[in-house]
């Protein structure tokens, strides 16, 4: 028995434009139904429906992927900007150049920036490869990591600069006033009052 051949153009379009979920099986099903007496019009209609569904799916996936990677990149960039702002803020402090150039500060800041970059890159790559929505926990982890990294960077940079610089200033100007003290703002107040008080 010779097989009835379905419209070649429709088949070609289906093969090239309608490759969605189980595309081969769908094409096989259409062929099978055509052998069982379906009309060419039916075949065309079904092919167009399959192509339309595949295109809509493809556009939706592309848009979702684009939106997700844009948001992730934005989060990473915000974290980086905050980290840079913290460095700039520290560099404006008095006698903070020493603290800024200390190996601990540089290494920690580099690690923080690298971590933020890695998290964003990993998540956007993973999403691109799988084409699926990342799970809720992944999104939570990403949001938590980026918030924690930026908040941590700012806090650490702020406290380090305040404590070390004021301590240095106090030890230079007033000798033992800074010794044993651990609180930046307290030291700052002590330093300011000692400068303003002539006695």
């Amino acid at each position: 028995m010779t097989a009835r051949m379905p419209p070649a153009v429709a088949t070609w379009l289906l093969r090239h434009l309608g490759s969605g979920y189980q595309g081969e099986s769908l094409a096989g099903d259409l062929f099978e139904e055509y052998q069982h007496g379906r009309t060419s019009l039916w075949y065309w209609r079904q092919s167009f429906a399959a192509i339309f569904a595949a295109r809509v799916r493809s556009v939706r996936m592309t848009m979702l992927r684009f939106a997700a990677s844009t948001i992730l990149r934005l989060l990473v960039e915000v974290a980086l900007i905050l980290a840079i702002a913290a460095v700039a803020g520290q560099s404006r402090q008095l006698c903070s150049l020493q603290a800024l150039l200390s190996p601990t500060f540089i290494i920690t800041l580099s690690v923080v920036i690298a971590l933020a970059q890695a998290v964003g890159h990993y998540l956007s790559q993973r999403r691109g490869q799988s084409g699926r929505k990342p799970s809720r926990i992944n999104r939570l982890i990403a949001a938590f990591a980026l918030s924690a990294l930026s908040a941590g960077t700012l806090t650490w940079a702020g406290t380090t600069s305040a404590a070390s610089c004021v301590a240095q200033m106090c030890s230079c100007q007033n000798g033992p006033i800074a010794a044993g003290a651990a609180n930046g703002p307290t030291l700052q107040r002590a330093y300011v009052s000692s400068r303003s008080d002539p006695n």
């Binding site: 979920y21 099986s25 139904e33 209609r45």
Partner: protein
């Protein structure tokens, strides 16, 4: 009450068609089954879109068969329900029964 994703009408019809016993469910059979039972023809692409959603939700699983000449050398993809799928269909069925019980309009008792 636990939060869960509800099945759409087509998804539920496809899931129920997949659950029919004593045969391997694949696209053509599922589509025919729905057309027979509902009186409406559904595009095969829509059936496959629903199958994709069901598989993503873990309610059905698929396996590839052998290519045949009857299908132009293309293989069939067979679908079967998972335990979660059977449970979901049971719950949907129960919910529909509870919702439709005591509705005079459904029995033709128009006042």
């Amino acid at each position: 009450m636990r939060k869960r994703e509800y099945l759409g009408q087509l998804e539920l019809m496809v899931l129920l068609a997949v659950m029919r016993p004593a045969r391997d469910a694949y696209g053509v059979l599922i589509s025919r089954d729905i057309a027979e039972k509902s009186g409406r023809e559904v595009a095969l692409a829509s059936v496959y879109a629903a199958l994709e959603r069901l598989e993503r939700k873990g309610l059905i699983s698929s396996s590839l068969g052998q290519p045949t000449a009857e299908r132009g050398g293309k293989a069939r993809t067979y679908f079967k329900p998972t335990m979660a799928g059977i449970q979901e269909a049971r719950e949907a069925h129960g919910t529909l029964l509870r919702l439709t019980s005591g509705l005079p309009l459904l029995k033709g008792e128009i006042t």
